[in-house]
Amino acid sequence: MNLGPFILRRLALAVLVLFGLSMLIFVIARVIPGDPARMALGPRAPEYAIESLRKQMNLDKPIYEQYYFWLRDFVTKGDLGFSLLTRRPVMEDIKEFLPATLELVIVSAIFMATFGILLGVLAARFRDTWIDSLFRVIAYLGIATPSFVWLVLFILLFGYVWPILPAVGRVSKGIPLPPHITGMVTLDALLTGNWRTFWDTFLHLIMPGIALAMGGLSQAARITRSSMTDHMDKEYITLLTAYGVPGKIIFMKYLLKNSLIPTVSILALDIAALFANAFIVEMVVSYPGLSNYGMKAILNKDLNAIVGVIMVLGIIYTSVTIIIDIIVAYLDPRIRLVKRAS
């Protein structure tokens, strides 16, 4: 199996996509009316202070020169410029906020994959029964209801009516933060054996994590169910049953594995999309993640931060897409053969 050329082609395409994205977002962020330097320095800042900031951010140069300097610094130094909102390099902000979002997305992805597949399998197994109908309703609700609505509901239920989970932030009052290793406080607490902090930070992730997962979870459940029911009707399953292969082996080895290919593709894309969906969820609970930072950057016209956040999300999304393509191509040789032929 030779996946090399396939991977190389996908990587080349990804670089092109990211280059296009960077140009597009750079221009869009800068053509919005208003002088970011004046906005950042307050209503009565003197002209010399504004000029100095403009110079520092290259805002006094034509837009193509601004882009050239930005791209040069990004590629050669990993420098995404200076944030007007936090008054420090955007890269430092990303290093601080990305791990928070990452751990939220990881927890959310675990919920999404586990319960999405589980519900789908159960719905398929009990096809056309009341269980199937119940799960269908749950799935439709999950898809149709935005994640922030779920979160508000969860907060009211589990933070207010039955207060068992913390409603805001990343860590409770009086709980010491673990030493910085990865920036993901739950993981850092685990790595340093700080169980109390681990448990507390994990509790903080449950409500936003599940709320964020609801859409993807429901979608995964529906796709798993429909894929499994399709396969159940295939001749090879009938043949295996006729040969007397035990039902458990048919289910696990043949039915489930084959049926999961579309689910895995969709799940992976949904997991990448969680980064974008986290925008409002993080704002609802004041969760200090990258999405919350990105939202504030957009509202405050923080040019470099907007471009930085979108680029990071673009890189994550592109990387996940490549990984999925590789996994799917590995699982299903027809895909790479078709692509090669084309």
């Binding site: 009316p33 202070a49 907060i155 039955w162 207060p163 409603a167 200090p288």
Partner: protein
């Protein structure tokens, strides 16, 4: 197959049990309290329970980001942090009088250009250094170099000299009547602390970045609280400074935490669980009404020095016509907006001045516009757009972060439509609104803004609202050039307070007649406050200090953890 399904079911059951376990392990603060709301300081009861310092923590959620560097911050939340962490030369009390603070006394030369300030002795900075006159001179130099935030208040100071360790002399370029009032914003930083954290190279030559980066998450002040921990975009945790010169009450908060404003449902949960003591002031009335239903929670209502204004573009059709502007002013039902049951700002008071009632210099005898559609028609008939006012749509921007201001826009739109004026209302992020004000072409006809004084006197709002130097900022979107400059400068340079206030009165009536701004109401600010175990002086007052930050002085708050347990 059956076995497998059984296992799946078992998995689900275990997951549910896991959640139940979580619920048992998690702390369960009571959502309801039997404590009755109190309008006076909560009485402390002796208790055998010993409390940890974190039990004396109070939390406040606010708009974000928050900058605690006095040469950078300018917004409401910035000022709360700045005022708690840094001491100013003089202090602003809740009755809006000036109180000696780091400056024990002062003298003004007869021409009003030289001010001699005598500093309090024995004041310690958070790093242990003693406050000296050189720190005051250094703080001014830093303001002048950085030029951000409220630094513009001190541009008029030409020179500062340390006469000795405890005497500073300021020389002004021009006499400025309310100079002492501006010193409520003159926060003093430790020169040694700042200089030991500068980052070089930086934009300020030998001073590098003037420690601006370090001061994002630390402080160099001598205020009652010091920054213990600051997480950008998340919170600032301040800790009581034991060596503060003013002394401490045993029930003063040990920690004061400001964090980023979450969603209304989250705020409600935090308040119910007693994890939040004071809310922000930007919530919708419905949210405050819901919060008031929670036992032990009271809604504080007080005038703070803000007024709700609609600023009119005076050089863009059709609001370039004074009669058209007056017609708009007569279209607003001011009393309905402040109605205690149906209003958007219950308890607020229709404005009669360009400044609210609690700002020194306010004159209750000025004439202001009232809701009168007949008068609106008369004014419109006199305008040059009388023939076809609908052909000149009026653009109106309001901030999406303050959703209740939309109702003012819709009311004006509906009433103006009755006399043929068409208003196009646009909701947008405040950041984009700021951007729009920077040029006359992008500034809308009507710009909705809550206005606050930078220093405690009417001259502040008059100057920022109409002086040409402030044109193109959110405070002044009139684009009316320098027509008011001479009168404003004359009033501000008058040293005698009585004479100065008389000039303000005359000027304010002229501004009312010019109708560059529709002054909607003196805003009564609302905040939901815990009263069962916590006391904040603002909860009992009708009016508080008119400069942002001062009303939320944590040193004067009290917390009683033993009451919180009940």
């Amino acid at each position: 197959m059956k076995k497998f399904l059984k296992r799946l079911f078992a998995g689900v059951v275990y997951a549910v049990l896991g959640l139940l376990l979580v619920s048992c392990a998690a702390p369960q603060p009571s959502p309801t309290s039997t404590s009755s709301p109190s309008s006076s300081p909560v009485e402390s009861t002796p208790s055998a329970t010993s409390f940890k310092p974190e039990d004396y923590m109070i939390s406040l959620e606010e708009d974000w980001p928050t900058y605690s560097d006095p040469a950078v911050g300018t917004d409401f939340s910035d000022m709360i942090a700045v005022t708690n962490v840094n001491d100013a030369l003089v202090f602003l009390t809740n009755d809006n009088t000036i109180k000696p603070w780091l400056a024990e006394k002062w003298e003004m030369s007869p021409d009003g250009k030289v001010w001699t300030i005598y500093l309090r002795k024995g004041v310690k900075f958070h790093n242990g250094e003693t406050l000296k006159a050189s720190d005051v001179v250094f703080s001014l130099k830093r303001h002048h170099a950085i030029g951000e935030g409220l630094s513009f208040l001190f541009i008029n100071i030409e020179d500062a000299k340390a006469i000795d360790d405890y005497t500073v002399q300021f020389t002004l370029k021009e006499p400025f009547g309310p100079f002492l009032q501006t010193l409520v914003r003159f926060y003093v930083l430790s020169e040694k602390e700042v200089m030991s954290h500068i980052k070089t190279p930086g934009p300020y030559g030998e001073y590098g970045d003037y420690a601006k980066e370090w001061l994002l998450t630390h402080d160099a002040g001598c205020g009652p609280y010091k920054i213990k921990e600051a997480k950008m975009e998340e919170y600032i945790l301040m800790e009581k400074f034991d060596d503060w010169w003013g002394g401490w009450d045993p029930n003063a908060p040990v920690y004061f935490k400001m964090f980023s404003q979450p969603d209304a449902s989250t705020i409600r949960t935090l308040i119910a669980n007693r994890q939040l003591e004071i809310t922000d002031e930007w919530q919708a009335v419905e949210t405050y009404n819901a919060l008031e239903q929670i036992p032990g929670v009271k809604i504080a209502r007080y005038t703070v020095g803000h007024n709700m204004t609609l600023k009119l573009h005076c050089s863009k059709p059709p609001t370039d016509d004074v009669h058209f502007r007056r017609a708009l002013a007569y279209c607003l039902d001011y009393n309905a907006l402040v109605d205690s049951k149906t209003g958007v700002a219950p308890g607020s008071i229709p404005s009669v001045n360009p400044v609210p009632r609690n700002v020194p210099g306010f004159d209750p005898n000025l004439k202001q516009y009232t809701f009168d559609l007949e008068k609106a028609k008369e004014e419109l008939a006199q305008s040059k757009y009388a023939d076809n006012p609908g052909a000149y749509p009026v653009t109106y921007y309001f901030a999406q972060e303050v959703p209740w201001t939309e109702k003012i826009a819709l009311m004006l739109q509906a009433n103006a439509a009755k006399i043929g004026i068409k208003i196009e209302v646009t909701r947008m992020p405040f950041g984009s609104m700021i951007a729009a004000t920077q040029s006359p072409d992008t500034t809308p006809n009507i710009f909705s803004e809550i206005n606050a004084p930078y220093f405690p006197e009417a001259g502040s709002q008059i100057q920022s609202g109409f002086h040409s130097s402030c044109q193109g900022t959110v405070n002044n979107t009139h684009w009316s050039g320098d027509i008011w400059d001479k009168k404003i400068e004359d009033a501000l340079s008058t040293l005698d307070e009585k004479e100065r206030f008389a000039k303000y009165s005359k000027l304010m009536q002229e501004l009312n007649d010019y109708c560059g701004t529709i002054y909607v109401f003196d805003q009564v600010e609302l905040r939901a406050v815990q009263t069962g175990y916590f006391y904040w002086p603002g909860v009992d007052l009708d009016s508080v200090a008119c400069c942002a930050g001062y009303p939320l002085y944590a040193h004067d708050m009290r917390i009683y953890p033993e009451k919180k347990l009940k």
